[in-house]
Symmetry: C2
Subunit: 339 residues, 2 copies
């Protein structure tokens, strides 16, 4: 039988609230008392009942994690990283997917407010242009952290990728490999992630004095767009490399081009962005920019927990994670290198 | 401005509780009243406030969906299918992952009970051998439906794949293609899904009078086991085909064999089970057994909603979904067919 907080308090001749705060390292409780409480708790194998804590306190140990789509590898990997940290710290992640739908995201935020969750990690849906539902969570005092796709106008903690540098690196790699006519499949431009990748692409071309033509940037929402545009684009532009804004699109580009009879990388290079697992198993393997999704999850969870414990102790933070270029066969062409 | 339940009740000169029950088709309310209520509700575009309903009633519009790992394509696709149905019906899915951890699964069930969710879709963790946490949800009157990995001893609704037939079909296909030395990477045998796939494999071999050797069945927990066992197994058994219990393992088998220099399907056939998206992009494409994950999600969600609306109206149901063999290049060998 497990010992309860109440029994622990009786044995220590302390109020249960004191024991509870001592276990959480509350600054009002002396170090000596904290030590005494922790020793007995360990001795008796006391484990806090997360659910009970939840019912008793205003603040809950449930953390909402809101992602656009769990079926995308980046988000699933992020959730795994975050979940690990939450569990280690006695918190309980509850996942929601917005399915890229603004209305659904609003409903999720209402439910987070009503159920008074302890905090929120969120990456914004593609169709979200208004942020009232997030402001409303802030007003209720629920700590909010945006990752990947942020709501720029809100003052919150953020964990993002250096998307500009990631895109710059992969395009520079293409140029150094000898590719010159590089088409970019760009994402929805009201999302900063997509915007910055486009800017990184443009900067690399400019730095290497490669003329930029506007029609080399093709705006897509989904992988379905890619299969629609690619055949016609191969005719009109005759590119020698395709850089997609994410790995889903890159996988689709690869499959469409292979079906059309192109040899990758001999005829054309293809690369993506994110470092999804799938890039390892395609043939050829896909060059991509690894965003360290699991690490991002861990970092985000830690930062949110700090914020929950000390809501006003430090100003809001933006952590920018450096991504890593991962070169695979899809961009390795044996051609004249850059002189 | 949206009309509320109270306003609706005032206009109809009925008690709000009557209107609420009428909208839900409660048998205590006459058909005539139900019709009258529904007509006005439609006219005024009344939409139930899920959150408010949630706070007011004992029964909640939140449905818990508990999966072993969201990063696996089968579960992510299942969740998408289920989510669609729940949303169409004004319910709100909340996802939990057990991470294949019995303790985590217990904690999730406690939280589902405490937050009094309206129902649960669950696929059991690999490490779960005791089911008290599920019994406890049942005792609290929370409708429970198991999908894929079931808890055999509980009397609940279930949605499962015909794993036996799926495995039988894929092994028969291998035999008809001329493969004879077929190794099976089997999963954890206390899970019925894994057990039935093994039995389907054995039955097909027996029906085609292919002698079964016990060491042709290799028990694995993870893809990591696969990469460990494969090289040594190729030496000791010299199989001409490998049938993995799931697509994750099949992808790993394929990648290990390719690294070792084998040509697939010329030297060896490889196939998996589940119909994960990744089977389409490997080279060669992977033969698999499509479990129609999204359809399973939809069917499960519909059955659970029926159960929620009429808890005792019909005995518990087991729906078995027929999977479909999907033949791709990884098992197409141009050899002498079976006479």
């Amino acid at each position: 039988m497990q010992v309860t907080l109440k029994e622990l308090a009786e044995r220590l001749k302390l109020a249960p609230s004191t024991v509870s705060r001592a276990l959480k390292g509350h600054p009002d409780i002396s170090e000596e008392t904290q030590l005494r409480v922790r020793r007995l708790a360990e001795e008796l194998h006391y484990a806090p009942n997360v659910m009970a804590t939840n019912l008793r306190c205003q603040k809950s140990n449930f953390i909402a994690v809101v992602v656009p789509e769990i079926r995308r590898d980046f988000y699933a990997a992020f959730v795994n990283g975050a979940e690990k940290i939450f569990r280690e710290n006695g918190y309980f992640p509850v996942l929601f997917q917005s399915c890229e739908d603004f209305r659904q995201e609003e409903a999720i935020c209402r439910s987070i407010g009503v159920s008074r969750m302890g905090g929120v990690l969120v990456s914004v849906a593609q169709t979200t242009h208004f942020f009232q539902h997030f402001y409303s969570l802030q007003e209720q005092g629920i700590p909010l952290l945006f990752f990947d796709r942020i709501a720029g106008e809100l003052d919150t903690d953020r964990v993002i990728t250096d998307d500009f540098m990631g895109a710059y690196e992969v395009v520079r790699h293409l140029i150094v490999q000898g590719y010159r006519k590089i088409v970019h499949y760009a994402g929805v431009q009201h999302l900063q992630v997509a915007q910055k990748r486009r800017l990184g692409y443009l900067q690399a071309l400019q730095d290497f004095h490669i003329p930029v033509e506007e029609d080399m940037i093709v705006y897509c929402n989904t992988a379905a767009d890619v299969s629609l545009y690619t055949p016609q684009l191969m005719q009109s532009l005759a590119p020698d490399a395709l850089f997609a804004v994410d790995d889903d699109m890159a996988v689709e580009v690869l499959s469409v081009l292979k079906e059309m009879g192109y040899r990758i990388p001999d005829d054309l290079a293809v690369c993506g962005f994110s470092g999804d697992n799938i890039t390892k198993v395609t043939e050829p393997g896909l060059t991509s920019v690894d965003r360290h999704a699991e690490d991002m999850g861990e970092i985000s969870a830690r930062l949110l927990l700090e914020r929950i414990q000390m809501p006003h102790k430090f100003p809001t933070v933006t952590k920018m994670i450096k991504p890593a270029l991962v070169v695979r066969k899809s961009t390795e062409r044996p051609v004249r290198p850059l002189e």
